[in-house]
């Protein structure tokens, strides 16, 4: 049974046509969270975020409060917001940026105040042209309103905020690649250590990188208190979360749901949510958290929408994107297309990722197009194993960033569950789904 009683924390204004304007924002409690935060000390604001146990919404699910506490004390430090949203079938930040840009700005200002950061950047995926325009207009209005700039809202805190457009490269969602890109370079992820930009980040200075949705939660958390947020969901997966539902469902879209209280079945089948599979068919497989995640199957539908619950079953909630594939879907084709995505988006630094992704893609292409050999299945798995030794989850890696070990997820999932389908492709010399 779906639990749809939780408050809308980040999507409360989405229903208004003018949700992106300053007027609507102010009329619906906008900048109140910031005002309140400015009356508190920075450490009190941090304490609230800690109490909320807000997990990062960008993919890795790292607690925001913990990340903030790691920020190296320094005269100059930066806050960078990750709005690159390029993980396939993830489209929640897109909504927040276009439809409630002021909420995002307010969240960023609260974080900046808490971290005592005086310059922040919002990195927005370049393809979000409308989002960039809405956000830039909102920022201009916010400057004019006095919420950004010198001594914001008559406090003793000053901050500048810059909206920075990306230019089309999935890898720039990876936080260190994003920083390189923001520095005007090729988006090559930085090698670790240091493991967090909190030590060495933008321009070599301490930097916090957080996701758009993570930031958008802050106004509510400050207005209502961290405890109120933590009361929703189940520790450690607290609050609500945006789920981007796509694929074979009747009502694809973004849904804000209380964490843990609902299951994938609720999300996909509840008439108020996904509404079930249009063809009336069955769920053959679904991706629980972006294409980097190992797949789930019909038997996993009752898994609750919680970070730990999904991890326990060997996958991840990741970016909150759920892709449903019904029984009309060719699994070879799905795996091929996802692998092709990684191959096109590999930055090209690490040999296993750069060469491996292309090689895997070409083998899968052959299989899908009837040129496959039986031995290709083991070859695929062995090459995957050379990228992510052991093919376990969370993966071990031979690469700098986790794009590399994400490549095997779909291939390993598809072959382990649908080996016969692959063999049929070999035997029949092609795909019988087309």
């Amino acid at each position: 049974m779906s639990q749809l009683t939780a408050p809308k924390i980040v999507t409360s204004r989405i229903g208004f046509d003018d949700s992106f304007t300053l007027d609507r924002f102010l009329a619906t409690g906008g900048y109140e969270g910031l005002r309140k935060a400015l009356t508190m000390s920075p450490s009190e604001v941090c304490a609230q975020v800690d109490a909320a146990s807000l997990l990062g919404r960008g993919g890795a699910g790292f607690p925001a409060g913990r990340k903030w506490s790691m920020l190296r004390k320094n005269d100059v430090s930066y806050l960078v917001i990750n709005g690159d949203e390029s993980e396939p079938a993830t489209f929640k930040d897109h909504l927040l940026i276009e439809r409630d840009p002021h909420q995002l700005i307010e969240g960023v200002l609260i974080a900046a105040y808490a971290l005592q950061v005086n310059q922040a950047f919002i990195f927005i995926r370049g393809e979000f042209a409308l989002g960039l325009e809405r956000l830039q207009s909102a920022l201009n209005d916010a400057y004019a309103y006095g919420a950004v700039g010198t001594k914001i809202l008559n406090s003793s805190f000053s901050i500048d905020l810059v909206v920075h457009p990306g230019a089309g490269a999935y890898i720039c969602g990876e936080e260190t690649s994003l920083l390189e890109s923001l520095e005007g370079k090729r988006g090559f992820p930085r090698i670790k250590p240091p493991f967090f930009p909190a030590a060495i980040g933008l321009y070599g200075e301490p930097t916090v990188v957080n996701n758009v949705e993570t930031m958008s939660n802050l106004p509510w958390i400050i207005s209502n208190g961290g405890d109120a947020f933590a009361a929703l969901g189940e520790t450690p997966s607290t609050g609500t979360r945006l789920f981007a539902l796509a694929g074979h469902v009747r009502n694809p879209g973004v849904y804000e749901l209380e964490m843990v209280k609902n299951t994938f079945r609720d999300l996909i089948f509840d008439p108020a949510l996904g509404g079930g599979i249009p063809s009336g068919g069955r769920v053959k497989a679904f991706i629980p958290g972006g294409v980097s995640a190992p797949w789930f199957y019909e038997e996993d539908l009752d898994t609750p929408l919680g970070q730990g619950q999904v991890a326990d079953k060997g996958s991840m909630l990741g970016s909150g994107s759920v892709v449903v594939m019904d029984d009309s879907t060719c699994m070879v084709r799905a795996a091929w297309r996802i692998t092709r995505f990684f191959s096109r988006e590999s930055c090209g630094q690490c040999t296993p990722c750069r060469e491996g992704s292309g090689w895997l893609e070409r083998i899968l292409y052959r299989l899908e197009h009837g040129e496959g050999r039986v031995e290709d299945l083991d070859l695929l798995l062995d090459l995957c194993d050379n990228i992510a030794p052991g093919l376990s989850w969370p993966p071990q890696q031979t690469t700098i960033c986790v794009l590399g070990p994400s490549i095997p997820s779909s291939i390993h999932s598809a072959i382990s569950h649908f080996r016969d389908e692959f063999l049929a492709h070999v035997k029949e010399g092609g795909c019988s789904y087309a």
Binding site: G126, A129, L130, T150, P165, G184, P252, S321
Partner: protein, 202 residues
């Protein structure tokens, strides 16, 4: 002689001023430079290099990393059709083939009349209105062959569709202010706050 038009040159200089290090403005300036002719000519890259203090080879190298920045000329309208997983499941591949037919060019190519460049895109993050099509980075939400053809016909007839600016334009909204938080003011605030923090903890 500036390869950028004077107003774009001014905008570019404003951008440089927004960042602690010049090179950060490289990509935003390339977006602006690209508005001019739809792609980055050698002359434009040389000027970007000069503006942000790197070599032209570095500008070219950086530009070539990013899908949206183009070194080759493109048509007036760049049509991007997503075939990634959510769109694939909704017929993105078929949609792309249809777009190729309507515009008369293969993916990666430009129609002979210079109207359309067609691209196969990776996920564009609009996965609930599928298959997803963008024209000049605007979501046009033509999910059927018929709706796409109708829009293409309007564009071809020379009609200007306000939602679809010239190729290369990423944002029509300019930043209205420069940086305002004076570093000295910031430093004062910081030390004041540190002092009060110290008092609070001791």
């Amino acid at each position: 002689m500036s390869a950028l038009t004077p107003d774009r040159r001014t905008r570019a200089e404003h951008l440089v001023a927004l960042y602690p290090e010049k090179r950060s403005a490289l990509i935003p300036i390339c977006h602006i430079a690209q508005e001019q002719e739809g792609h980055l000519t050698d002359e434009l890259m040389i000027e970007v290099a000069e503006l942000v203090g790197v070599t032209p080879a570095e500008v070219q190298g950086t530009v070539s990393f990013y899908d949206m920045l183009r070194i080759e000329p493109v048509g007036k309208y760049v049509v991007s059709v997503c075939t990634n997983i959510a769109c694939l499941l909704a017929g993105g591949e078929e949609m792309l083939e249809h777009v190729e037919k309507t515009t008369g060019t293969r993916r990666g190519g430009t129609s002979s009349d210079g109207m359309f460049t067609v691209e196969e895109a990776e996920c564009l993050a609009d996965c609930d209105v599928v298959p997803c099509v963008q024209i000049n980075n605007r979501f046009v939400r033509t999910t059927t062959p018929e709706t796409f053809d109708a829009l293409a016909a309007r564009l071809r007839s020379g009609e200007t569709v306000t939602d679809i600016p010239t190729s290369g334009i990423v944002s029509r909204v300019e930043r209205s202010v420069g940086l305002v938080a004076d570093p000295e003011v910031v430093a004062q605030e910081r030390s004041a706050l540190r002092a009060s923090d110290q008092k609070a903890t001791s």
